[in-house]
Symmetry: C2
Subunit: 324 residues, 2 copies
């Protein structure tokens, strides 16, 4: 299928954008009516590095690549906007596979209020999916960076951790005796992560001082918060909310559940620092916005050398200290 | 070099953005104060498809990838804004090569008024460089799409054509007897194309009805204009402005100069349709803005079946008709 025909086919898959999209596919560039501030992130997933083609369906590959990018907008507290897709396709990737990948992304875009407004299709030896996502806000002061955490803040995470890592372990056959229903559930956590746009905006509105999405694992991502905030973060391993099945998978992999959850990554939950006095506001904001995902306090920003330290009995990470 | 260290090193290469950049590298997303309309394009270049690593320097690869993306902004008549870079690096790409690539892009960004405001670095088997570029305008009516050409318009191109194709022929050893100074000159046209941002805005201001950048070759790109405008475009091959050396290279390749120039592509000049009465305005606008690149009339939009037809004696494309 020639590039032009493929692009025509893609147009039929993609939903028509809202009234803010002035021009889109088929021109040299998309034109979008702006709001006050553009919040932009670019994220690439490569076959063999971030996923394996045989292990995920094309729909899942498309969903997951967009989810990872949109998760960065969630971590800023931005509102959804547009996505731009670059697909580098190996010779073996047929039209059906390509359209299925775009359909997977389009379904997530529709569910999260994003519009896929442009793209590029090229040949390659390696399937490579890049999404640039643009979110918007009218007030830059409503956005949350990584750099505002101060001693006294509590540290919390949305949802439950470890599910994506457990899902990958299932896919890779490392937990063969897991209950099939639990296996399906954690596999879906890996294959179809849900970016926490609503929770991110609620946390921003509730006064979060620093925020990041958990893509590399809490140990690593809390380290980014500590580094940018020049702050010391203590995390209680025993407080981590674990996805169902994580303990079983971790055990099969020879690890403790909390350690597994703190290091496995790709959950795309949010980790946010909030003034202790603001916890009640987080609760009421989540409730008033009908946000059903939880926010669990897992640690605290304390005085001391910048870095992350884990506390907790019977866990390999206890006493782990990530100085920076 | 770990990703974090590489990103730190990249921060030293990249210039600090202007006052419109609120947040940039090191956060989950960049934050940019917007103007009325965002004009956005994503463009990927893959080693072995769009260039070969041994044939271009890393600086040239970076320059060329950004130039191709910015050229899309030029073709819309947009003003420069921000660029977001995703680099997928094979194991063999060292830090020096990577930083050189970014330096090449950064130099072009600085020269064109763009700010590289964010990025992503990942591993891959294939060097893959993706740029998303965002331009801005306060007035969407000032932008030019591909779809406004009407019978009576003249069709023109900026600069000279065929140079990039000639440069590639030189790089690939297909024109071994070319004068070395000319060879260097056409090689640079391939390796370091100059996006025509100023000319694009001038053509938009002068009333261009349809515009595209010449990435695939005039024959193909005029076809895009014809297709989107549902218009018939006649091009006089003998009128094409040829870069110095193109005739010699074309002859070495067994082609006529104009045919070569019309099909070789990657010149990143602009092809614009302008009402005949507006040609004088183009001239005075270019002059008043000190734009030194030329604008040469090469054809006309006529009544008839949508498509592109070439006219001209002694040329392989004469009588070529690209119906759509």
């Amino acid at each position: 299928m020639r590039e032009l025909e493929l692009i025509d086919a893609l147009e039929t898959v993609l939903g028509r954008g809202g009234p803010r999209i002035v021009r889109w596919l088929g021109d040299d560039a998309a034109v979008v009516r702006a709001r006050g501030y553009a919040v932009t992130s670019i994220d690439t997933m490569v076959d063999g590095v971030h996923f394996r083609r045989g292990e995920l369906t094309p729909e899942e590959i498309g969903h997951r690549a967009l989810a990872a990018a949109v998760s960065d907008l969630a971590a800023m507290g931005a509102e959804p906007g547009e996505a731009y897709l670059s697909l580098a396709l190996p010779a073996g990737a047929g039209t059906d596979e390509t359209l299925a990948l775009v359909r997977g992304a389009q379904a997530l875009a529709a569910a999260t209020g994003m519009t896929i407004a442009g793209g590029d299709v090229t040949a390659s030896t390696t399937l490579t999916v890049t999404f640039t996502v643009v979110g918007w806000t009218d007030d830059a002061a409503q956005l949350v960076g990584r750099d505002g955490a101060v001693p006294g803040d509590v540290v919390g995470v949305t949802g439950a951790l470890g599910g994506a890592g457990a899902g990958l372990a299932v896919i890779e056959g490392r937990a063969p005796t897991l209950d099939p229903a639990v296996a399906d559930s954690v596999r879906a956590r890996y294959a179809r992560p849900q970016p926490r746009l609503d929770a991110g905006r609620a946390l921003a509105a509730a006064g979060a001082t620093a925020m990041i999405d958990i893509s590399d694992g809490l140990a690593s991502d809390a380290g980014h918060l500590a580094r940018r905030s020049r702050a010391r973060i203590e995390i209680a391993l025993d407080a981590l909310p674990l996805e169902a099945g994580v303990i079983e998978v971790a055990t099969a992999c020879g690890e403790g559940g909390a350690t597994f959850a703190a290091t496995a990554g790709e959950d795309y939950e949010l980790c946010a620092c909030v003034p202790e006095s603001g916890l009640k506001v987080v609760e009421t904001t989540f409730a008033s916005r009908s946000i059903t995902v939880g926010f669990t306090v897992v640690g605290r920003v304390v005085e001391g050398e910048p870095g992350v330290v884990f506390r907790g009995a019977n866990a390999a990470l206890a006493g782990y200290e990530h100085s920076i």
